[in-house]
């Protein structure tokens, strides 16, 4: 058994966890995720596996960013007054010039 196996399993679990809120539904996400992992089940070269793990971690980071943006946009839509926001942004820019 490859010593990288625990890392792969941990990555799979983390991706499953972050996929709970996938816009197209958890089922959709889980199926895709499973297929993506099965596709690489025959990798034996540790460098190749490492590369695949890195890719998985990249996808994870992207999803994290996606959730953040989704929440941030919803919050802005509900709680930020555009006119007021524009004024503050302009002020902050002036600050930075000083």
């Amino acid at each position: 058994m490859s010593p990288l196996r625990p890392r792969v399993v941990a990555l799979y679990k983390q991706l499953l966890y972050i996929g709970r809120e996938y816009p197209l539904g958890y089922e959709y996400f889980r199926d895709r995720l499973k297929k993506a992992f099965i596709k690489k089940r025959d990798l034996t070269d540790s460098a190749e596996i490492e590369k695949a793990i890195k890719h998985g971690e990249f996808v994870y980071k992207e999803l994290e960013m996606l959730w953040f943006l989704r929440k941030y946009r919803a919050m802005r839509r509900n709680y930020v007054d555009e006119e007021q926001d524009a004024k503050i942004r302009a002020l902050l820019q002036e600050y930075e010039k000083l």
């Binding site: 966890y17 953040f68 929440k71 919803a74 919050m75 802005r76 007021q84 004024k87 503050i88």
Partner: protein, 267 residues
């Protein structure tokens, strides 16, 4: 010698700051709110931590990472399920959690929450309390201000930046006000409420959620703190916002003028 010096640094005054972060479990921001029988439907609806409180937790955790704060305590008032919210706060980096448990379905209003917080603060004496500026369920935006009033502590609300001065004995807070920014200075202990621009909260990852299960969580009741939680405000009615009415096409200018006059009543 070196080890000893390190020790002295660790107990210097700026490391003794304890930060209390009260958090609230609310209906998730992405859920479409429905009113059933004169009440917001909360059964079988996804809940999560109030996003403004996430910002407050993040700020407290960053203070700890910068070694300005020694300890971050997350606290919530709510039914048994509110523990999930505390776990999220712990997963984000809070050190320990306090759950003030109230029966499921019991309504708790800002004044009662503020009284509970006052009782806790007087017992545990944190040096700084950071709260979200409002909760996205009732949008009351009162708890921080009420708590400051009850404790007679300085308050800096709607913070978009928090800085420390005077060996962490004073805070400088940039606030968002109408048409601009204002910087206020306050001695500690103080109350700060977080606005959207303060920071970008981190995601509570699965490994951290698992680790959070081992962190200490204390359960107490309002009675332990000697606070009566009977609501002081009567809610008269709860209703959904009016449904959007579809547009109509008009055939001629005359018809438009007629509709504006007689239907819309604008001219």
């Amino acid at each position: 010698m070196y080890a000893r010096r390190g020790f002295v640094l660790a107990v210097s005054s700026e490391m003794s700051l304890r930060v209390l972060v009260p958090v609230k479990r609310v209906v998730d921001y992405a859920v479409k709110i429905r009113v059933v029988g004169g009440k917001v439907d909360t059964a079988n609806v996804k809940h999560s931590m109030n996003p403004f409180d996430e910002i407050a937790v993040e700020e407290a955790v960053r203070l700890k990472e910068k070694k300005t704060a020694a300890e971050v305590i997350a606290l919530t008032v709510g039914p048994a399920k509110s523990q999930e919210t505390l776990r999220t706060a712990l997963a984000m980096g809070a050190d320990n959690a306090v759950h003030i448990e109230v029966p499921e379905g019991q309504e708790i209003q800002p004044l009662q929450v503020a009284k509970l917080l006052r009782a806790y603060v007087e017992k545990e004496k944190p040096g700084l309390v950071i709260l979200g500026k409002q909760a996205i369920d009732d949008d009351a935006g009162q708890t921080g201000q009420l708590l400051a009033g009850l404790l007679n502590w300085p308050q800096a609300t709607f913070a978009s930046k928090i800085e420390f001065a005077d060996a962490a004995k004073k805070i400088l807070v940039t606030r968002e006000i109408d048409g601009g920014l204002e910087t206020v200075e306050a001695p500690l202990p103080a109350i700060v409420t977080a606005d959207l621009r303060l920071n970008e909260p981190r995601y509570a990852t699965l490994p951290n959620i698992m680790k959070a299960k081992k962190k200490p969580l204390t359960k107490i009741t309002p009675a332990d703190l000697g606070v009566d939680i009977t609501p002081s405000i009567d809610v008269l009615s709860v209703s959904e916002p009016p449904k959007r009415v579809g547009g109509k096409k008009v055939e001629s200018v005359d018809e438009l003028v007629d509709k504006l006059k007689n239907e819309a009543g604008v001219i």
